[in-house]
Structures are given as structure tokens and as C-alpha cells.
Point group: C2
């Protein structure tokens, strides 16, 4: 009998919790899919038929087992779990990048990946220490956008820059002088965001062109995924004219 | 011995979980504060001295008790809890409003209140069914911005409009024709956002001027607090020039 364990970042596989995110994984990263688990409460019908057909065509095993749902998912309405092998990607240095410096919350990281894909920004650098991008909570919060995103981890911002030269760098900082209102980046650029609690380290004040999102002093700062969403919306406006 | 119960929406009091949000409550709604609980793990020092001084001056009792922390807070690093009587407010019809139609997630509601205050939008209508704005999760996610916000619940959008006439209404919808890029509202206006999962009901397509945040089809929609943050950023730009 199979023994199911909670997800750990050292694992070679991760999971898509829920139908939508499992379909996204099968659509964009089918070659990494290893299994699909179906809960006994999953309704028969078109959705399950479609899932079964995709799995059959791709030679992906379907396992009917309820136990793994108790182990991996806290959500009550999760009846489908996909298992996939972790994959690695390389950033495309010709495209705009999002750089997350020391992100510490899985849900926030997933939400940023989702917004980024919406604004055509599917290249994401992550500077360690940082949450694990394959954590099922990141995958779920991204609504599957992770499977259409190229990402790469670096041990420092310097290492990121050494591997991705010739770029305009825009660190988002509360005390920056340049207003986001005036930002219209072109070509190779990187939007850089700091940790949820601490923001970007002070040295970013001397890196590229620091940018601030103007807001009143009634709040200390905007929530990180909100700030990142606003920045990406403004930076990519020209692409949506 | 005091018996502490979990928070219920029928309660006449609610709670601020954490130091920052408790200070915000004492700063803006001190007259509603009834008690402040201090955990035995709270460090002696300036912060506690300042808190004690505020409570002494205002005649608010300080209770040293650990048990209530286990009951009310899931966060490990919460050492201060404020208790306050629920209050009611009226919207100011001369100011811009945020209208949340059937919001279902406490964290999202709090995050939207926080962004809204940052953009000078501290008037919030909530259309039922909706989460309870006094839920400690909303209060915490708002980072205390709730205490600087006027809000009012309505049983329908019609009831909201009957009580708040003469306004430009901007419902945010995925299939709207007007792009947010072209929105520069003036005077009395209302930015209207729907439920996390279902968006706004179809009838809003014929209400005021529906607005869309342009994004690629690679995602179904933006996360609600991200979309609301982007909308508020754009709508209030002129105030930050």
C-alpha cells in the first residue's frame, strides 16, 4: 500500500492541488507529469472524461486514492491532484524580467507569478534565501501560471546580474525619487521587488533607477503582490495599446 | 477565571491581533478600545511602555493573560491583542467610494482596505452576502487601515445607489469595453468590484461605465486585491501629481 508524505522542498516531484491547476500543468508541462490522483468524491462527467483522455493519450497513470488528499491538501473541495517531476528553466535575457529578492510567502509568490503572466512577463529571477517555487502553495496561488513561466534561482543579485547583463534595473523602494507614473521602460529591463516585511536592502538605492509607487503616508506600504501588480501594469502599458 | 471564546460575527467586540494593528486601533478608534491583552513572552521595553502609557491615559485595562492568544491567534509571534467595541460609520457621498460586491475572503478584504487607504480612498461600501469586516483576519490584513476607513453594508447594489445618488459608477468586468488606461474619474465616483470566484453579476454590464484591466488571455483573471489595487492606483493618479 502506498504511503503518502507531505511535500518537502527536497522532493523530486511536486503537486498540483485542484482541477484547474492540474489542467494547466497537463497543458504546458505534460512531459513532466507522472501521475494524476482522483478522489472518490470527484463527479463523473465531462471534466473527468477530458482529464482521463489527456492522461491516456500521454501515458500518465490515473490513481484513484483518497488518502493523498488528506496528506497534501487542506482545501475541502480539492478532488484532483497532479504529480509532476520538477523541471528547470533558463531566463531569456532578451525579455523583461521580474526579480524577487528574498520572497518569504508562498501565496504571495504564486499571486505575483499569476499577475506577471497576465502582463506578458513570464521571466522570473528569484534571489535566495527564498521560498520554494515548486511548493504546492505557490503552484496553486499561481493558478497554474507557473507552468508558463521561466524562472531561475540565484544566490545573490550580483550573480543574477553577472548572468544577465545589459539590462535596465528598476528596484521598487519606498524612498525612491522616480515615480512609477513616469516609468515607460523599453528593451531589456528588470523590475525588482524585495521581501514582504523588510523590502529591498539599502544598497539597491544605488542600483539602476529606484522607483516608488506614490501613495499616502496613512499606510506604511502596499502589500507585496499588490505593489508588484501595479508596477507590472504600468511598466507594460505600451504593450496593451 | 476568564473563559475566552473564538471570535463570532455576532459578538459585540472584535480584536486586533498584533502590535502594529493594536497601535493603529488605539490611534484612530481609542474611544472603542475596551482592553489590551499582553502575552508573557512580550518583551519589556519601549514598545510595551508606550502601549501601557496610552492605555493608562485612556483608562483602558491591560490584562496579562496567555490563554486568549491560543484561542484567537494562529500566528506564533502575536504577543499583543486589543479588544474593541464594534462601531458603525456612514459613507460620505461627496467622496470617491470603493464598492465590494459579495466579497468572500477576509484576507482579501483587509488587503483591499489597506491599498484603498494608501490611495486616499477610505470610503467602502460592502454589498451582502459578504464577509464580516470586523473579523480579526480582515482587521489584521488591513494592517489597521480599517480604523481610518468609513464603511457601510447594504443588502443590494440598488440600496447602495438609493442612499448614494449622483455618482459615476465604474464596475470592473473582464468583458468591458473601456480600458482602465483611459480612466480618469473626477468628482463623485464608485469603483465596483465583484466576488473572488464569480466576478460581478451580468447586470453590471448595463450599469455606469464598465471598465477592464487589459491583460493577456494566459490567465483567466487577476487576483481580486491585485486588480483592485491596480484600479485604485490608476483612478487616483491625478491626486499624486
Amino acid at each position: 500500500m502506498a504511503v503518502y508524505k507531505r511535500y518537502h522542498k527536497e522532493d523530486t516531484v511536486s503537486y498540483t492541488l485542484g482541477i484547474t491547476v492540474t489542467f494547466e500543468m497537463l497543458r504546458f508541462k505534460k512531459e513532466y507529469a507522472s501521475k494524476v490522483y482522483v478522489h472518490s468524491a470527484m463527479k463523473q462527467g465531462d471534466t473527468l472524461d477530458k482529464l482521463a483522455a489527456i492522461c491516456r493519450d500521454a501515458g500518465i497513470g490515473i490513481v484513484y486514492a483518497d488518502k493523498i488528499f488528506n496528506v497534501l491538501s487542506q482545501k475541502e473541495n480539492c478532488y484532483i491532484i497532479g504529480e509532476f517531476k520538477k523541471f528547470s528553466c533558463r531566463l531569456d535575457n532578451t525579455k523583461p524580467h521580474i526579480v524577487l529578492v528574498n520572497p518569504s510567502n508562498s501565496g504571495n509568490m504564486g499571486t505575483i507569478i499569476r499577475s506577471a503572466l497576465g502582463f506578458g512577463l513570464n521571466q522570473m529571477a528569484v534571489i535566495r534565501p527564498a521560498v520554494d517555487i515548486f511548493d504546492p502553495k505557490v503552484v496553486r496561488a499561481s493558478m497554474g501560471a507557473l507552468f508558463s513561466t521561466d524562472f531561475e534561482y540565484f544566490s545573490s543579485f550580483d550573480e543574477y546580474q553577472e548572468n544577465n547583463g545589459g539590462r535596465e534595473i528598476y528596484p521598487f523602494m519606498l524612498d525612491a525619487e522616480t515615480s512609477l507614473h513616469n516609468l515607460a521602460p523599453k528593451g531589456r529591463y528588470s523590475l525588482v521587488f524585495g521581501n514582504e516585511a523588510t523590502g529591498l536592502p539599502e544598497e539597491f538605492a544605488n542600483t539602476g533607477t529606484p522607483v516608488v509607487i506614490p501613495h499616502l503616508k496613512g499606510i506604511d506600504s502596499l502589500n507585496l503582490p499588490v505593489a508588484a501588480g501595479i508596477a507590472m501594469y504600468e511598466a507594460t502599458k505600451a504593450c496593451f495599446k
